[in-house]
């Protein structure tokens, strides 16, 4: 008697779960947590997705975007993973989700999140001031080998920019004094004013200055050249920038994924729901316009493919952090 009851209950609950899985949809406002300050790359990434979801009615529940960029974004990650089974907190970031906890004690663990999707890969370029004597990456690297080396600005400390600078030094023997600024935008202005020799900004962070001929790109850390698009300056478009590999810098690729996360405790149906929404977002013309305007590479990754990417990316960063002695004790 007792046994049948138990089985019946189990069956019933199994059915319920199955019923719910087909139909999990948010029925109250969803928080989109931005792990950067307003105006930063992650902020624009998140708000673009929000505007596409709203415009195309891809989700019925309202969306509230909250900026929590304190502590290099860890504020957002702490908040996003605080309630382990809350499906109403979606966190937006980059690879800093799994890299930040490596370099400092952060108050959250990267295992506290489950990845939903990676929507784009942002590129990195070497930029110099337009009056700089270095016309290509090779002569730039040669110059950085001499004397005290060159001043390189970037966003934050021990983050993607400084990691890349360390990889360049390791691969070529060039010497750089890395100066951390609050944001890539600040590093862009410092370069335009010739206060630093170079930076490794993302395309979107320097495009305004490039258009005005204040700075010049030398090469891009991408396996192949970027998509053409319209001309940025009078005689150059993004596809005219050589890859760093073809200009003799032995680094094949360095990219930063734009990622979306949920707390690790939510059910797989929830993850599926959001990754389906994101898959739809990614097919809209507005999204394609965003990718083109910011000169990123549109790549959609979810599930096992994304997990594999994260493992590889972590491993590579780990070796750099270890060499530089940045790993948190």
């Amino acid at each position: 008697m007792f046994k049948t009851k138990l089985i019946a209950t189990m069956l019933a609950s199994a059915f319920c779960a199955a019923g719910a899985s087909a139909a999990w949809t948010p029925d109250k406002p969803v928080e989109f947590i931005v792990t950067s300050g307003a105006g930063g790359g992650t902020d624009i990434f998140t708000r673009t997705i929000q505007s596409i979801i709203v415009k195309n009615k891809l989700m019925d529940a309202p969306i509230v975007v909250v900026n929590k960029g304190g502590g290099a974004g860890s504020e957002g990650y702490v908040y996003g993973s605080a309630e382990q089974n809350n499906p109403y907190r979606v966190t937006f970031g980059t690879n800093n989700e799994y890299l930040l906890p490596l370099v400092a004690k952060m108050g959250y663990a990267s295992e506290g999140f489950t990845p939903v999707a990676a929507m784009a890969l942002d590129e990195f370029l070497i930029w110099v001031n337009s009056n700089s004597p270095h016309k290509d990456a090779k002569s730039f690297i040669e110059a950085a080998k001499k004397g005290d080396g060159l001043r390189m600005g970037g966003s934050q400390s021990k983050d993607t920019d400084q990691t890349l600078v360390s990889i360049i030094s390791e691969a070529t023997g060039a010497k750089f004094t890395y100066i951390p600024f609050k944001s890539g935008g600040e590093a862009a202005i410092q370069l335009a004013g010739a206060h630093i020799d170079s930076n490794v900004n993302n395309p979107n962070e320097n495009i305004g200055q490039w258009k005005a001929n204040m700075v010049r790109p030398l090469c891009v850390f991408s396996p192949k050249r970027m998509a053409a698009g319209p001309k940025v300056t009078k005689d150059m478009s993004w596809s005219d920038i050589p890859t760093c590999k073809e200009s003799g810098v032995p680094i094949e690729t360095y990219q930063m994924p734009r990622t979306i996360w949920l707390p690790a405790g939510v059910s797989p149906e929830v993850v599926t729901f959001y990754s389906n929404v994101m898959a739809k977002v990614q097919q809209t013309p507005d999204w394609k316009a965003y990718i083109e305007k910011t000169s990123q590479t549109g790549t959609f990754m979810a599930g096992d493919e994304l997990r594999k990417y994260i493992t590889q990316d972590t491993a590579r960063a780990y070796s750099v952090f270890k060499r530089e002695g940045w790993l948190a004790k």
Partner: protein, 506 residues
């Protein structure tokens, strides 16, 4: 006069019924978020941002900038009435605004604040119109050593602020620097003074401190003194508004000086907060009524308000022309620009002149509208003071804590506001000035970053602060002069006094 014809085109774009209606809505919403401490302009603008996604960029920026003006005005209201700054940049307004309200001159103080704010903003827009090309060139000259020099100048112009002991001011400022170091260090990426609290990684929010120090601290003192506001008996007459407006021309010197400071800090970008503090400090230094400052001196309201708004207005220019936001709110708007499909930067003026000049024209109209709207609200706000303290007191406590929580939705902030309240009370009892601590908390980490970046650039040589450019050398020398001025003037006085004494004895 190329700019002038551009501006006229801009007016043609901005001057439509729809845009004027947007301005009115923006300003009113702005006043609302400005009045609530903690909500503030940056949060208000980011809440409104999704609404603009489907708008034309010109309409969108008009709505957002109008909200910004409204919030700047609203922030001054609570500073004057309750000693709770709604915005970081209106902290300096509390120094004399609140004493004026306590003495029953709330109407006078509010009107002065709004009028001088309007003047500052207008001055800022004119500067933007006339100098838009040159200003961007100037802003590019700023690097870390220049930033540090500007911050040092702000600190220096503020030394000797309180009439009390210099030692107490230094203690207060050093405590502020210590609070500013909490959280992640931007240069090394390491954690400092977080004691394992993950909420502290983002640092101690300056607003939490201000809500505690000013709002709660003040309440405790009021309770001790017998639960009453002196301002309660003041009659509210519309005539007072006009009287205050009529007294404006007598402050012409303060208005001009503060506008210049504001524009300088907005463009460079030291920001409105630094501008208002520096302007207050200098107004006091140059005033013949020095000893009245902090006790309800009208010029002490005019100075910070003018600078705050001219800086806030001028901050829009570097945002459009360089893509460097001069204030937190400008940063939010910049994000908006990108979503609307515009790239902030030097080319924006050439690619989308309709947008740029439409925005600038709307700043003229928006500010006039904001001044008219807030002046109309003065009697209403001043009437709040007539509510008995036993009712308004608890309401202020609630508003303070709601404000502390809204800043970032962190529960620890509620607990932090309390000790800051006690600290504020103790400081007042023992005669320690709060202002230096607040200033150090706002600018401390920025100054530190700028200093350390400069040291990295120069490989540890302090000479960079003099030989980097003529600009930095000038600012540094000015800062040093201001810093040591009390000492210099004291020595001069001593020498004179000694001579004087000798003559007497002889």
């Amino acid at each position: 006069m190329d700019n002038f014809s551009n501006l006229m085109d801009g007016f043609a774009i901005a001057f439509s019924f729809f845009h004027l209606a947007l301005m009115a809505v923006g300003v009113l919403l702005g006043i609302l978020v400005g009045v609530l401490p903690g909500l503030g302009a940056p949060n208000g603008v980011s809440l409104l941002l999704p609404l603009t996604f489907t708008m034309d960029p010109v309409s969108a920026i008009i709505l957002l900038t109008s909200m910004y003006w409204g919030a700047l005005f609203g922030g001054s209201t609570t500073s004057i009435l309750f000693n709770i700054p709604g915005e970081p940049s209106s902290v300096a307004t509390t120094f004399d605004g609140y004493p004026m309200a306590q003495q029953g001159h709330a109407t006078h103080a509010l009107t002065l604040a709004f009028m001088s704010a309007g003047f500052g903003a207008m001055f800022g827009v004119v500067v933007i119109t006339v100098l838009s090309g040159w200003v961007t060139q100037f802003a590019l000259k700023f690097s870390s050593p220049e930033y540090f020099a500007v911050f040092l100048l702000t600190f220096a112009s503020f030394i000797g602020m309180g009439s009390g002991s210099a030692f107490k001011a230094i203690v207060s400022m050093m405590l502020g620097f210590a609070f500013a170091t909490v959280g992640m260090d931007g240069i090394s990426g390491n954690m400092r003074l977080t004691f394992g609290f993950s909420e502290l990684v983002k640092g101690i929010s300056f607003l939490v401190a201000v809500i505690g120090l000013f709002g709660l601290g003040e309440l405790m003192q009021t309770m001790e003194e017998g639960l009453r506001f002196d301002g309660i008996h003041a009659r509210i007459r519309v005539r007072d508004v006009f009287k205050a407006v009529a007294s404006m021309p007598s402050h012409w010197m303060t208005l001009l000086r503060s506008s210049l400071i504001g524009c300088w800090m907005g463009i460079t970008p030291g920001g409105p907060t630094a501008a208002s503090f520096m302007s207050y400090g200098l107004a006091k230094r140059f005033s013949r009524r020095k000893e009245h400052f902090g006790k309800g001196e009208p010029a002490g309201v005019v100075a910070p308000e003018t600078a705050d708004h001219s800086a806030g207005t001028c901050a829009i220019l570097p945002m459009l022309a360089l893509g460097v936001p001069g204030s937190a709110t400008a940063a939010v708007m910049m994000g908006g620009l990108m979503i609307w499909g515009l790239t902030p930067g030097p080319m924006l003026f050439i690619e989308r002149p309709d947008f740029v000049w439409g925005t600038i024209a709307s700043m003229y109209l928006g500010n006039v509208m904001a001044v008219v709207l807030v002046l109309a609200t003065v009697p209403m706000f001043a009437a709040i003071l007539r509510i008995p303290f036993s009712i308004i007191g608890p309401m202020i406590v609630v508003v303070c804590f709601i404000g502390a929580y809204t800043i970032s939705g962190s529960r620890l902030d509620l607990w932090l506001a309390l000790p800051f309240g006690i600290l504020g009370y103790v400081f007042k009892k023992l005669g320690y000035p709060i202002a230096p601590m607040v200033l150090a908390m706002v600018l401390g980490d920025k100054a530190e970053d700028a200093f350390r970046q400069s040291m990295m650039m120069s490989k540890g040589s302090l000479a960079i602060f003099w030989n980097n450019s003529a600009l930095v050398a000038t600012i540094m020398s000015l800062a040093m002069l201001l810093l040591f001025w009390p000492m210099v003037s004291m020595i001069i006085r001593r020498l004179r006094g000694a001579e004087h004494g000798k003559r007497i004895s002889a």
